[in-house]
């Protein structure tokens, strides 16, 4: 294409990108693995000792992380949030996308509305959700004596339900997790709707015409025509949903603040990413690295399983 004397030019253009990637991407990959294998790394650096002389190579950090009660809690929280939010948001997004695809008037307006949560700051809007679930002057003895129950509880009462302490003092783990699931699903919908609607709009109309001629019922068209033809996009939003779910962090900061839990039990809702950052801040780089690599391992396994299932189930 272009003579070889220009080779040096290509490298010149690539130089800034390559230098930065070497320092901030490639080196960290190896170094993080190394640190994760250095036992007592953080403590040694603090004492000003040369780690090269005193460290022990081993799996100590991994053992320690896995025995850590906090880490197990983070793992559990992350897994619960993932398993709950990915199916809910995917099914809701699919229904909304199919409904949007079947209408003409208002389609563009509704599409814009459904995309709106994507362009928000997840910490800022988390504070709005916190305010909606918050009880003003919560009365622990009798919740009904609280000053104001908050709009969510008002709505629940309107439909005949009982108000609950969602995020206040003494709120239960289940209530906290429910709030997080609601917020994460709300946040996850726009991306999924966008991708699924894009997929729907590229499906050939002939399939639907054929189904119409055959008089196939609507739900059957959905499960037998739409979903199979949409399976590559569905697979994509599910995989990215799981990866995003395992990296959940800032949505919890948005609702509970950086204590990552209700006032009476800080850290109750901490996640794997939160654990990594806490460990960095506490100068326990060894633990942080081991936890980050465990997180990477989990994401890798989930992706591989997904890819395997997709190969078996995704049509065309």
């Amino acid at each position: 294409m272009v003579e070889s004397k220009h080779q040096w030019k290509a490298w010149l253009y690539l130089l800034p990108a390559i230098v930065l990637l070497l320092v901030f991407t490639v080196y960290p990959i190896f170094n993080t693995v190394r640190i994760s294998l250095l036992e007592e790394y953080g403590a040694m650096a603090e004492m000003g000792l040369d780690e090269g002389e005193y460290f022990n190579f081993g799996l100590g950090n991994y053992e320690k992380v896995l025995q850590y009660k906090d880490f197990i809690l983070c793992l559990k929280n992350t897994a619960i949030l993932c398993v709950a939010t990915v199916p809910i948001s995917t099914i809701l997004a699919l229904l909304i996308a199919v409904a949007l695809n079947s209408i003409k008037p208002l389609q563009k307006t509704l599409q814009t509305i459904f995309f709106l949560p994507y362009v928000t700051n997840s910490i800022a809007i988390g504070m709005v959700f916190a305010a909606m679930f918050n009880i003003v002057d919560y009365n622990a003895e009798n919740i009904l004596n609280s000053q104001s129950l908050g709009i969510i509880n008002n709505v629940i009462q309107f439909f005949g339900g009982n108000p609950i302490s969602w995020i206040n003092q003494g709120s239960s783990y289940m209530a906290n997790i429910t709030v997080m699931i609601v917020y994460i699903v709300w946040n996850a919908l726009p991306f999924k709707i966008l991708i699924l609607l894009g997929g729907l709009q590229s499906i050939n109309k002939q399939y639907y015409d054929a189904a119409k001629v055959d008089g196939t019922p609507k739900w059957r068209v959905l499960t037998r025509v739409t979903v199979p033809l949409l399976s590559p996009m569905l697979a994509y939003v599910i995989i990215t949903g799981f990866i995003g779910g395992f990296k959940e962090y800032s949505s919890i900061v948005g609702i509970f603040g950086d204590k990552m839990g209700p006032a009476h039990d800080p850290g109750l809702l901490n996640t794997m990413v939160g654990f990594v950052y806490d460990s960095i801040e506490k100068d326990r780089q060894g633990l942080a690295s081991a936890a980050a690599l465990i997180l990477f391992g989990i994401i890798l396994v989930v992706t591989l399983i997904n890819n395997y299932v997709i190969k078996k189930r995704v049509h065309y």
């Binding site: 253009y13 993080t32 995309f115 800022a124 709005v128 916190a130 950052y277």
Partner: protein
């Protein structure tokens, strides 16, 4: 054979005609149901925004009423100025703008040069290098953060804007996006320019950049939004007053989420922080949605 098909379709046409009124009713019902579902979902999606705005305009005493009001009885614009000064939003805004603009410009230059090299120039190991770059996209960012934290502190960059800008200048994803775009521009244009003695940089500036402008705009928007929404990394390396980014400042100024906090002022601050994002979305929706969906389907 053709007779059979013919009589079949005639029968079907008759069937359709016969049940047409019933079908019409069912179709109207289905349409109504679809719209009802979509409108309810749209209301749920919009409600937090509505609640944010009306709460931000309420007097504290009105906000605390047991029976909620759905429109402020007395509109308190003062909450906004209070929020602005209480969270020091002016300084936070300038810090974030500075980091956003500098990192976007530098990042665009680096991305354009690399995408050009990958799309138009021939050199040994090009495919291998590009493949290696793409492979790094699979790794979660947390893996880099730990070492980068140590690197940044060894370099003496703690509590500087440099620490907020430099580690994230190169995005393999943007290089990939722009390379795809550059490759769609016919190579003949480049060769013709070469014959005319046009330099690479001039060609880039005069031909490729104008043609790839939509992608460059998408990258700019996503990069600016990234700066606006960044929280974790700034919290680690530059959480001091002079370098604080807007999201960190917002979260730090209102730590009290469930106590006696002045929620209307808090909501006003949230609305101020959210407003620029909505403005960008309103005017540049096309580019954002394009950027996001392209990141999805091509992969």
């Amino acid at each position: 054979m053709s007779n059979v098909i013919n009589s079949n379709s005639v029968m079907q046409a008759k069937d359709i005609h016969m049940i047409s009124t019933g079908q019409k009713v069912r179709r109207i019902l289905a349409k109504t149901g679809t719209y009802a579902f979509l409108l309810v979902m749209a209301l749920i999606v919009l409600f937090p925004f509505y609640w944010m705005i009306i709460s931000s305009l309420k007097e504290l005493s009105e906000y605390r009423q047991a029976i909620p009001t759905f429109w402020p009885q007395k509109v308190m614009w003062g909450n906004y100025s209070k929020a602005f000064s209480q969270a020091n939003l002016g300084d936070l805004f300038m810090n974030t703008l500075y980091v956003g603009v500098v990192s976007t410009i530098l990042s665009l230059v680096i991305t354009v040069l690399s995408a050009f090299a990958f799309a138009r120039l021939e050199f040994k190991g090009k495919e291998t290098l590009f493949g290696a770059l793409l492979a790094t996209m699979m790794l979660p960012g947390e893996l880099f953060t730990i070492t980068n934290y140590i690197t940044v502190s060894d370099l003496g960059w703690m509590h500087t804007f440099t620490a907020l800008i430099v580690p994230f200048l190169v995005s393999v994803f943007y290089i990939y996006l722009l390379r795809q775009n550059f490759m769609q521009i016919p190579n003949e244009l480049y060769l013709a320019a070469k014959v005319d003695g046009t330099t690479d940089l001039k060609y880039l500036w005069k031909v490729m950049i104008p043609l790839a402008l939509p992608t460059l705009i998408s990258i700019t928007i996503l990069k600016m939004m990234g700066a606006w929404n960044s929280y974790i990394w700034p919290k680690l390396v530059a959480n001091d007053a002079e370098h604080q980014m807007i999201t960190n400042g917002l979260r730090n100024a209102f730590t009290d989420v469930s106590g006696q906090a002045d929620i209307p002022v808090q909501m006003a601050a949230v609305a101020i922080v959210s407003a620029p994002l909505f403005m960008v979305f309103l005017f540049l929706r096309k580019y954002i949605m394009q950027g996001v969906s392209r990141s999805g389907i091509k992969g």
